[in-house]
């Protein structure tokens, strides 16, 4: 049998796993692996920061459903991907990360660029491995991909010491994998499914609450069919945007802190909640003890720990969303629920999403509405984290699942731009637009080099309000308008307690994103007037390479509706009372 080095085994194994692209950055303890990749059939994207690599792998995975792969060196290389792993972990994204490690003989001696990668990444990965002998490497890689992509997906890290990379052994890539202690359960318990269906059939005011699980298991058609068959309105989480067609009359939009009025009201009035692949995040539930008090709660989730973790569940069904919903579809009664739908529709018309469309000012929501209109909701939109993220969630009408990519659970600023690059690599035929805040964008904008050098056409729309806008909004609403360290234009000459921003008198904003883009050879366009939004977006979409739009939006715009942190979903603030 043919003998190979650990590094060659890695390359061969990745090819066997049909990996199309790897994101990463080399370093001393990873050099044998990089040597093996050099000239191989693997497409390697050299990022400017390891964090960028982890988010690119994430964006690739979220947009394609395939596992994202990144490869970095030991020590700082490994610690730099921790945020990316944590982001993927909370949002159930399949990633496989490979890290170089110092030689097994010096582990524990505080060697150069040594870090306890396994210890550091344990809480932010689904599982991790330290490979101590090259003879275990192929099997470990197989297990890593298997664990990352099955059950509730998540990131898996494989730490490979440099002597293992160099070690030699016979290479056989296992055909299948069997882990006695890891057997995800896909089929829901038939008795529980029947119980759930009985409760739904008897209910008068049911609501679907769908999360990423629906996207991951591709259960969107099952949700659609059940909801239409039984007249059940559907609300989605941030990560399930696009999983239910927004133009269907039963769509309530997103629930929670910045969810629609009708979604939150429907949850609070429902007699049955059918939660599918959602985990009752506090941004969705508001004050837990007041959440859907009148409702029996059915929870379908592949992860048993998600059940009754936050909200007590009446009928749990542990299993894969699609498998379980298929069963439910055959059992559920066809039923019209006219009164309930009428009530819900009334909430919709009473309190639609709104902002001031008529004052001629450049509101950020307007930019997103235009993006949605021009792309027909068919583009992949990634976001950073903050106000622009919530406005994008509200106003970008993604037509299908996997078109709206955002760091939901961990709320990682700096995610959107690299994720957009990863998404574009996975979907070269789709338009990819990164909607960013001026704060978040600066956290990983070094990856612009990757776009340019590899000809990856990603559009960036910066909704520039000169603030860490979400922080500023909370400071305005809950901290007496004391804008403590949320202004990004602030210089040492500014008045200490300034809370009266004004583009005309504030210090010049840096960086000048237009000039910055130009320095990468990328078209940069500044928009400061509402009437210029459409032509700029058109120009951006016509351009066949990356473009940066720096849109100077209203600085003190707030996101509404809003349920303040810790308040009940009943307590929606629909607008600022000034």
């Amino acid at each position: 049998m043919e003998k190979k080095t650990g590094s060659q085994i890695l390359v061969e194994s990745l090819l066997k796993e049909k990996v199309e692209v790897i994101f990463g950055l080399p370093g001393g303890q990873a050099l044998p692996m990089f040597d093996a990749i050099h000239g191989s059939r693997l497409n390697f994207i050299l990022t400017r920061h390891e964090q960028g690599a982890s988010h690119m792998a994430d964006g690739y995975a979220r947009s394609t459903g395939k596992p994202g792969v990144c490869l970095v060196t030991s020590g700082p290389g490994a610690t730099n991907i921790v945020t990316g792993l944590g982001t993927a972990y909370t949002d159930s994204v399949p990633l496989v990360a490979f890290t170089g490690q110092v030689a097994t003989s010096v582990i524990g001696q505080d060697a150069f660029q040594e870090a306890d990668t396994i210890g550091i990444t344990r809480p932010v990965t689904k599982h991790n491995f330290l490979v101590k002998d090259v003879k275990y490497l192929a099997n470990t890689i197989k297990e890593a991909f298997y664990i990352a992509t099955t059950g509730r997906p998540g990131p898996v890290l494989v730490d490979i010491p440099i002597d293992v990379q160099r070690g030699v052994c016979e290479f056989v890539y296992p055909e299948r994998v069997e882990i006695r202690s890891y057997k995800p359960n896909y089929n829901g318990h038939p008795g529980q499914i029947k119980k759930a269906v009985n409760v739904i059939n008897k209910s008068e005011k049911p609501v679907f609450y769908i999360g990423t699980g629906v996207v991951i298991s591709e259960a969107e058609n099952e949700v659609l069919k059940i909801s239409k068959k039984a007249d059940i309105p559907v609300t989605n989480t941030l990560l399930a945007i696009g999983a239910y067609p927004h133009d269907t009359s039963l769509s309530l939009g997103m629930l929670g802190m910045h969810g629609t009025f009708c979604a939150n009201r429907a949850i609070q009035s429902a007699d049955v909640i059918i939660a599918v692949g959602a985990r009752f995040d506090d941004r969705c539930t508001g004050k837990v003890c007041d959440f859907a008090k009148k409702a029996k709660i059915i929870h379908v989730d592949i992860d048993p720990t998600a059940i009754s973790k936050v909200v007590d569940v009446d009928i749990p069904v542990v299993g894969d969303a699609k498998t379980v919903l298929k069963e439910m579809l055959t059992l559920i009664d066809k039923k019209e629920r006219k009164d309930w739908i009428k009530t819900v529709d009334a909430w919709k018309t009473e309190h639609p999403l709104s902002y001031n469309r008529d004052d001629g000012k450049l509101h950020p929501q307007h930019v997103i509405e235009k993006i949605s209109e021009f792309t027909k909701g068919e583009a992949i939109v990634t976001t950073e984290v903050g106000q622009h993220q919530m406005w994008s969630a509200q106003y970008y009408k993604a037509k299908y699942p996997r078109l709206f990519l955002s760091s939901g659970g961990l709320g990682t600023m700096g995610f959107g731009y690299p994720a957009g690059i990863g998404a574009k690599i996975g979907n070269p035929d789709k338009e990819v637009i990164v909607i960013a805040g001026d704060g978040s964008f600066q956290m990983n904008m070094q990856e612009m080099a990757i776009s340019v050098l590899n000809g990856i056409n990603v559009k960036v729309v910066i909704l520039n309000n000169q603030y860490l806008g979400n922080v500023r909004q909370w400071q305005e609403m809950f901290y007496g308008k004391r804008y403590s360290h949320s202004c990004l234009a602030r210089r040492k000459e500014c008045p200490q307690l300034c809370n009266t921003p004004n583009r005309a008198t504030c210090p010049v904003y840096i960086p000048d994103f237009v000039k910055w883009a130009q320095s990468y050879g990328v078209l940069g366009i500044r928009v400061t007037d509402k009437k210029d939004v459409e032509p700029a977006l058109k120009k951006m979409l016509e351009t066949k390479s990356s473009v940066v739009l720096d849109v100077w939006v209203e600085m003190e715009e707030n996101i509404f509706p809003m349920v303040p942190a810790g308040a009940s979903l009943d307590d929606v603030i629909t607008r600022m009372s000034v």
């Binding site: 210890g119 344990r122 809480p123 689904k126 330290l130 202690s181 890891y182 048993p304 720990t305 009754s308």
Partner: protein
């Protein structure tokens, strides 16, 4: 409320750290912990005593089950089981108290494993309650040091 949870895990490097990380990260309190190899050297058994209400116990068992290296989790809630721990207790001893202490040792079916001029070491085996009761009884004579193992437990009969 105390709950005893028995966990079969792969006998691999880092498994204990995985379990203790889980407890720390989720804010669960470990009362006692015992880890040892089973009759199959590839498998270890951990016996963990946790404090908390039933919802905590439910989360603990689910979270443990979710770990890739965990093979099986039994909680002994609602089932017949036996549990034992060992404690070594060094007790101050005087001529005047020697007889009383000896009587207690006999009542608790424990035994003396070391004797010196002014102290003895007693070995006591039993469930958590018995050990706590014994410690309470000998406390007035003055305890110099104690050392307790974690509880080990098995379900009774056919389980």
């Amino acid at each position: 409320m105390r709950h005893t949870v028995s966990v079969l895990v792969e006998n691999k490097f880092g498994v204990l750290a995985r379990i203790s990380t889980l407890f720390a990260a989720r804010g669960f309190n470990i009362d006692s912990l015992n880890v040892s190899e089973t009759e199959d050297p590839a498998i270890s058994r951990m016996t963990i005593v946790v404090k908390g209400d039933y919802s905590i116990l439910e989360q603990v068992t689910k979270q443990l089950n979710k770990l890739v290296d965990v093979i099986k989790v039994n909680d002994f809630n609602d089932v017949e089981y036996v549990e034992r721990g060992i404690a070594l207790i060094k007790i101050n001893i005087k001529k005047s108290t020697r007889n009383e202490v000896h009587q207690l040792i006999e009542i608790f079916r424990s035994r003396i494993i070391d004797v010196s001029q002014d102290s003895i070491i007693v070995e006591i085996t039993g469930d958590g309650d018995k050990i706590r009761a014994f410690i309470k009884m000998v406390m007035p004579y003055g305890i110099k040091e104690t050392c307790k193992t974690g509880i080990v437990a098995l379900g009774r009969g056919q389980r």
